[in-house]
């Protein structure tokens, strides 16, 4: 083992010499390093954008929802107060939901009506604001599906209100939402709507973790967690990361093939060395181990260098906001790079593994090459 480490170290140092094989080795090392760096940058970029999207999701809507398992009404009793006392890190907001219309500029737009206890004035979300060209102070007519009798027969219940605030819309919302105070809501939905409790986490608390720990819930109450609320989007993001990561990993594959060629050349160059080492009593198995270790060491060096360089570059690009984005088009003001520790270890591991795999064939060939071929070929 001592001899193996000694020979390995000297061969690695020997790669700094200006021989043909050393030049090819340098190219292999740089290619592996660049592959690792590209992968770190890509994963950091994806993580940056996905973190932005997750933050938006978190800011735009509830982090979990408690719903009746059947029917429209949640079970009676003080269970919600008990839940709130057990989970001080969470905020619970009870509301009722129904459907209706908003009439703006002569057009009736179907909307979701949310009756929120404690709300002081009417709020519309950004989807509705955009669709109906509504802003703060706009006068709107709210129409309820519950009819009232008039001399002309049953007509929709119609109430006027002024928009006090425009709030973010839930992710991927197709229908606009109007949030109304309880008294107004009672008039619009006299029969009451479908009850639900929206759950919000305090800042700094991960909604996926916090809502997963929620419980025990009373009979008849179902939980839709943060992940369930946003399952399609979160799954798409995960798939995107996986596929782009795999795509960029092809750079590492090409670099590993280059390393394979290089180690094959190195094994041919050192065939006299390995022959004389075997003549001196070194088993052929140790020759194979030497070349596998060389691949591992080269992969480790290139992987570590590339990963550190990628991390440094991603950090600098993110901190200096080097790549700005057009305002109003993207949620972020600049291209975000978030290198994470698991992704750095993943890239390092994949690089080392690719280099090790690339060394297997040359190592086997070096060990199986006839001893006399090396001794006579000199």
């Amino acid at each position: 083992m001592r001899a193996l480490a000694f020979i390995l170290g000297r061969y690695l140092l020997g790669l700094s010499r200006r021989t043909h094989v050393a030049v090819v080795s340098a190219i292999s090392l740089v290619a592996l390093g660049l592959g690792a760096m590209a992968l770190v940058l890509t994963l950091s970029l994806l993580e940056g954008f996905q973190a932005t999207i997750r933050r938006e999701l978190r800011e735009a809507g509830p982090h979990a929802v408690l719903l009746p398992k059947s029917g429209d009404k949640l079970p009676p009793g003080p269970w919600l107060e008990r839940l709130a006392s057990v989970h001080p890190e969470l905020v619970f907001r009870r509301l009722e939901r129904g459907s209706g219309w908003v009439v703006a500029y002569g057009e009736a737009i179907p909307v979701l009506l949310e009756v929120v206890p404690g709300l002081a004035a009417v709020e519309v979300d950004r989807v509705l604001a955009a669709r109906g060209a509504l802003g703060v102070g706009a006068e709107v007519a709210l129409l309820s599906p519950a009819p009232v009798l008039s001399p002309l027969g049953p007509v929709p219940r119609r109430l006027s209100a002024r928009v006090a605030r425009v709030v973010p819309a839930p992710a991927r919302a197709e229908k606009g939402t109007v949030r109304v105070p309880e008294p107004l809501g009672r008039e619009l939905l006299p029969q009451g709507g479908r009850e639900e409790v929206q759950v919000f986490c305090s800042p700094g608390v991960d909604p996926r973790v916090a809502t997963a720990r929620l419980g025990p819930l009373p009979e008849g109450v179902a939980l839709r967690s943060f992940s369930e609320l946003h399952r399609p989007l979160l799954a798409a993001l995960a798939l995107e990361r996986l596929l782009i990561g795999l795509g960029v990993s092809l750079i590492l594959l090409v670099a590993a093939l280059n390393l394979l060629c290089n180690l094959t050349m190195l094994a041919a160059e050192k065939r006299a060395d390995t022959a004389i080492l075997q003549a001196m009593g070194w088993p052929a198995g140790q020759v194979a181990t030497l070349f596998r270790a060389l691949g591992l060491a080269m992969g480790g060096l290139a992987g570590l260098g590339g990963t550190l360089l990628g991390w440094a570059l991603a950090t600098v690009l993110d901190r200096t906001r080097a790549i700005p984005l057009p305002k109003g088009v993207f949620a972020a003001s600049h291209v975000p790079f978030h290198p994470t520790l698991p992704s750095l270890f993943l890239v390092l591991g994949v690089t080392v593994l690719a280099a090790y795999a690339a060394a297997l064939l040359p190592a086997r060939a070096a060990a199986q090459r006839g001893l006399l071929e090396g001794l006579r070929g000199e």
């Binding site: 020997g14 006299a272 009593g281 006579r376």
Partner: protein, 226 residues
């Protein structure tokens, strides 16, 4: 205990297949006593080096047996042969075959390092041997910085590092000019005879061969002992 160090019994060895097959050794036999230095001479292509590789456990005969120090070694496993080479055999080749990435001192210490000796101890032994072959002042140099004669001296020191019982030398002066060859051969004889080593030396140089205890002529039709 037998005084026979090396015994080759009816060795056959050929290369190639079918019509292209060439039989190099045809039932060759040789016995070398302990402490004896035998020179094998003959024209190119008669199998002198092949014989040395068979005796040195670097190759296997197609037929016949090789015995070293009373042990039949021609059918040992590769692992056992490697162990035996490290413990009992020393080699010097025509081309010095020094490792280019290592200093002369490290090259000489290499057999000991491969055996598992500590580096400091192996290097100390290498320095002793380099002093004995007269190139102690070159210990920190790399092989390419040495002359041909110095390289061969270093190869000789390396062959002696593990204190072998049998020294196998394949044209050790073949690449040297007359004067350098004379000096290296003189040194070789001195070291081998002082240590009472058993040796088999393959050479073209009959004048140098005659300075050994015995000369074996190997020709196309077989061996002719002198």
């Amino acid at each position: 205990m037998s005084s026979v160090a090396v015994e080759a019994r009816g060795l056959w060895k050929g290369y190639g297949e079918g019509e292209r097959r060439v039989e190099v050794l045809r039932g060759f036999s040789l016995t070398v006593e302990q402490g004896e230095l035998v020179a094998v001479v003959g024209p190119s292509g008669v199998g002198k080096s092949t014989l040395l590789y068979l005796l040195g456990l670097l190759d296997k005969p197609d037929a016949g047996e090789v015995w070293l120090f009373g042990q039949k070694v021609s059918e040992l496993s590769p692992q056992e042969r490697a162990g035996l080479r490290n413990r009992k055999l020393g080699f010097v080749f025509q081309a010095h075959l020094l490792l280019a990435d290592f200093t002369v001192e490290e090259n000489v210490a290499m057999p000991l390092l491969l055996r598992g000796e500590r580096k400091a101890k192996a290097l100390a032994r290498a320095q002793e041997l380099l002093a004995q072959v007269g190139i102690a002042h070159r210990r920190g140099h790399f092989p390419h910085e040495l002359s041909g004669g110095e390289q061969q001296r270093a190869a000789l020191a390396r062959a002696l590092a593990c204190e072998p019982q049998l020294l196998l030398l394949d044209e050790p002066t073949g690449n040297l000019d007359t004067q350098a060859a004379e000096r290296v051969f003189g040194l070789l004889l001195e070291l081998v005879l002082n240590r009472a080593l058993t040796g088999v030396i393959v050479t073209h140089n009959e004048a140098l061969a005659r300075r050994c205890h015995r000369v074996v002529h190997l020709g196309p039709s077989g061996e002719t002992p002198c």
